[in-house]
């Protein structure tokens, strides 16, 4: 085919323009087919996720609740106690919040910025609530400083000033177990470090699950690929049935099997192999076993389709030429299966890193993964901003893996069933 520019030279200017118009029309037509779904995905999926992740950076709650206090605090040099006007503004705003039953929200926000503040804010708000308006102007500040020693700590007020910033990256610090200390230096969080450990554990569990899937899936796929096609198709049904069976059904099955009084324990104790039932359910062991079971078909199917396409005569030729079976397998057959193996491995790894349901149901406390802590902050601790920050990090990790998958396998080449 001649290059486009060469073609254009051969045409008159008018014809070229017309060709360009036709081309643009064709492109628009193609786009018109895609547009409804594109808009739908953008509006129902991309925008919702984007706006949720935005929460991790934009958090105006404190600024909306105590705006005047924050204005005053901005005048303060950060040394010693803030001045009388700042404290007075704060007393008034806390008093007003208490009357609208909103002091609890402030308490929650302060608690995130300064551990243990929730009860201090609430009890102080209650004490202030007992004053009437005129007394608030005269005794308010004294009552505040009296209610708890924390109100006299400059670091608390620095934390409040920080929490009042509308744009913040603090939730990412928390999500990475970091904090900013008094000298404005970044350091590893002192009291508790949980999230990095949890990310490490999630990656470790995902890796174990992926390895198990590869170890179990590879021989099976190899065996199936070596069978005549009709027999392989018959056995493939046994792989496809779990694939098509509801995730909750499979999780239920593992609960029934692994329970203290479940099928496996009954068999083991009943046959006299054990005298004490094993604790298997609600452990990370349960998470690994159940997820391996659930994700195994995602490994087997791409492996099998690649192995089917490999001509067995290669290996046979090597063997007939005197190569020993294992080296021949390792040097000739295995490299040819790598596309299937990498597709399956990445797919299983990507899915398991973000998994929620199965760990939530069978994992107990030590089988929880990063998705579970995100759900926890969404539903239980209501720290949506931290959930968003943790979610952004998880999403970044997944997108990185997806990019890798796209490079190695091609996202458009995902095959189903």
């Amino acid at each position: 085919m001649p290059s486009r520019s060469a073609l254009l030279h051969a045409l008159t200017a008018g014809e070229a323009r017309q060709a360009a118009v036709v081309r643009r029309r064709k492109r628009l037509l193609a786009l018109a087919f895609v547009l409804p779904l594109l808009l739908f995905i953008l509006l129902s999926f991309v925008v919702p996720i984007g706006s949720m992740l935005w929460r991790s950076l934009y958090h105006p709650a404190v600024a909306e609740m105590i705006p005047h206090t924050l204005v005053e605090l901005r005048q303060w040099d950060g040394q010693g106690l803030p001045g009388e006007p700042a404290l007075q503004r704060f007393v008034e705003e806390l008093y007003a919040l208490n009357r609208e039953r909103q002091s609890g929200r402030l308490a929650e926000e302060f608690n995130r910025a300064y551990a243990g503040m929730s009860s201090v804010v609430k009890s102080t708000a209650r004490r202030l609530g007992r004053l009437d308006e005129p007394a608030l102007a005269t005794e308010g500040v004294a009552t505040l400083l009296d209610s708890h020693a924390n109100w006299r700590k400059p670091e608390l007020w620095r934390a409040i000033e920080r929490a009042g910033r509308v744009y913040t990256y603090d939730y990412y610090l928390t999500a990475l177990d970091l904090e900013v200390d008094a000298e404005q230096g970044l350091r590893v969080r002192q009291d508790t470090q949980i999230y990095l450990q949890l990310y490490a554990k999630t990656l470790k569990l995902a890796l174990v699950i992926t390895l198990l899937c590869a170890l179990l899936g590879y021989p099976l796929a190899y065996y199936l690929a070596s069978l005549p096609e009709h027999r392989a198709n018959l056995l493939l049904v046994l792989v496809l049935l779990p694939f098509w069976t509801s995730l909750l059904v499979r999780t239920t099955a593992w609960i029934a099997l692994l329970q203290t009084n479940g099928v496996i324990n009954t068999l083991l104790t009943g046959s006299g192999l054990l005298d004490q039932p094993l604790e298997m359910l609600y452990t990370s062991f349960a998470t690994v076993v159940a997820m391996t079971h659930i994700l195994l078909p995602f490994m087997i199917l791409p492996l099998y389709s690649v192995m089917r396409g490999i001509d067995p005569s290669y290996l046979r030729a090597a063997l007939s030429l005197g190569a020993r079976p294992l080296p021949a397998f390792a040097r000739i057959y295995f490299p040819m299966t790598l596309p299937g193996l990498s597709a399956g491995t990445l797919l299983v790894f990507i899915i398991s890193v973000g998994y929620y349901i199965t760990p939530a149901l069978v994992g107990g406390t030590d089988g929880q993964m990063i998705s579970n802590i995100i759900a926890f902050h969404m539903q239980r601790s209501n720290n949506w901003e931290l959930a968003a920050a943790l979610g952004s990090l998880l999403l970044a990790l997944i997108l990185l893996l997806y990019w890798l998958y796209d490079r190695l396998v091609g996202a458009g080449n995902i095959r189903l069933g």
């Binding site: 895609v34 049935l241 509801s246 005197g322």
Partner: protein, 284 residues
């Protein structure tokens, strides 16, 4: 294998035997946990394990009580109905949008194909917990959370990638000169579409629709965040059952779901064979 070449020695046979053994063990690992549910669902006792009576096959150890419970409990009935309503509507929406998009993506002059494909497939890749959290806030602000419509839209979004993939797969290798020939011979674009494109993509559309349906039918994370009590589905009901009060009516519904997935599997398999036949003999 029928004839064994001479260079296959003892070790090779042993290896072959071990491979077969290993493969069958993995197959058992895949299938046994699912099969174990079926007899347990007939347990007369409210436990998740085999009783002595069951193992010695005494008829009084078995009963249909958990099936009766499922069908007499209004919550399960609501859940079953919701699962089908939401699944069907989400599938219809996902299938129409996904098929249309796949037709566009298959055109040679599609701009930014790689980016758009990645975007359209992203609902399959993003962890469900992130999707669910995002939808929770956004749909709440639009008043769509806790409505059937909201859940249907969410599930449709999750189902579209499968339709895009299967229909695109059905279109690969399609010779567009056929379409041009039809148009050249005077067929209207509609006629060309229904006579040439539709038969070609039909198996892809149907299996994509099945995938979209099963995605919705099996989905629970988005439901957990987005659905209200009126939109409880089967998986949602199972999830709270497993978390809060484990009783064998869950095993009964699980058994029914296994039967359902066998039916789906058979359908898919028949479709696959039909598609293979069509490809071998393109003249219809």
């Amino acid at each position: 294998m029928a004839s064994t070449p001479a260079y296959y020695g003892f070790w090779h046979h042993l290896g072959r035997l071990l491979l077969r053994l290993g493969a069958w063990l993995v197959l058992l690992f895949l299938i046994l946990p699912i099969l174990v549910i079926v007899p347990l669902s007939f347990n007369v006792e409210p436990f998740f394990s085999f009783t002595e009576g069951m193992l010695t096959l005494q008829p009084e150890a078995y009963s249909l009580r958990w099936y009766e419970q499922v069908f007499s409990d209004p919550r399960w009935r609501l859940a079953i109905r919701n699962s089908f309503i939401i699944g069907l509507f989400a599938t219809a929406l996902a299938t129409v949008l996904g098929t249309c998009a796949a037709l566009g993506l298959a055109r040679a002059d599609m701009p930014m194909r790689r980016l758009i494909t990645a975007l359209l497939l992203s609902p399959m890749i993003v962890p469900l917990i992130i999707t669910a959290a995002g939808m929770f806030f956004f749909y709440s602000s639009l008043g769509l959370a806790g409505t059937h419509l909201g859940v249907i839209l969410a599930h449709a979004a999750l189902g579209t990638p499968f339709v895009v993939i299967t229909v695109t797969a059905a279109l690969t290798g399609f010779d567009y000169s056929l379409a041009r020939a039809a148009l050249g011979l005077g067929a209207t674009p509609w006629r060309m579409f229904f006579d040439i494109i539709v038969p070609l993509i039909r198996p892809g559309v149907i299996s994509g629709a099945l995938f979209a349906f099963i995605t919705s039918f099996d989905e629970v994370v988005v439901i957990l965040f987005l659905a209200g009590p009126q939109q409880r589905t089967i998986p949602r009901q199972m999830f709270s059952g497993l978390r809060e009060q484990i009783n064998p009516s869950i095993l009964a519904i699980a058994t029914l779901l296994i039967l359902f997935s066998i039916a789906l599997l058979v359908t898919i398999e028949l479709l696959r064979r039909r598609a293979a036949r069509l490809r071998l003999a393109p003249a219809d």
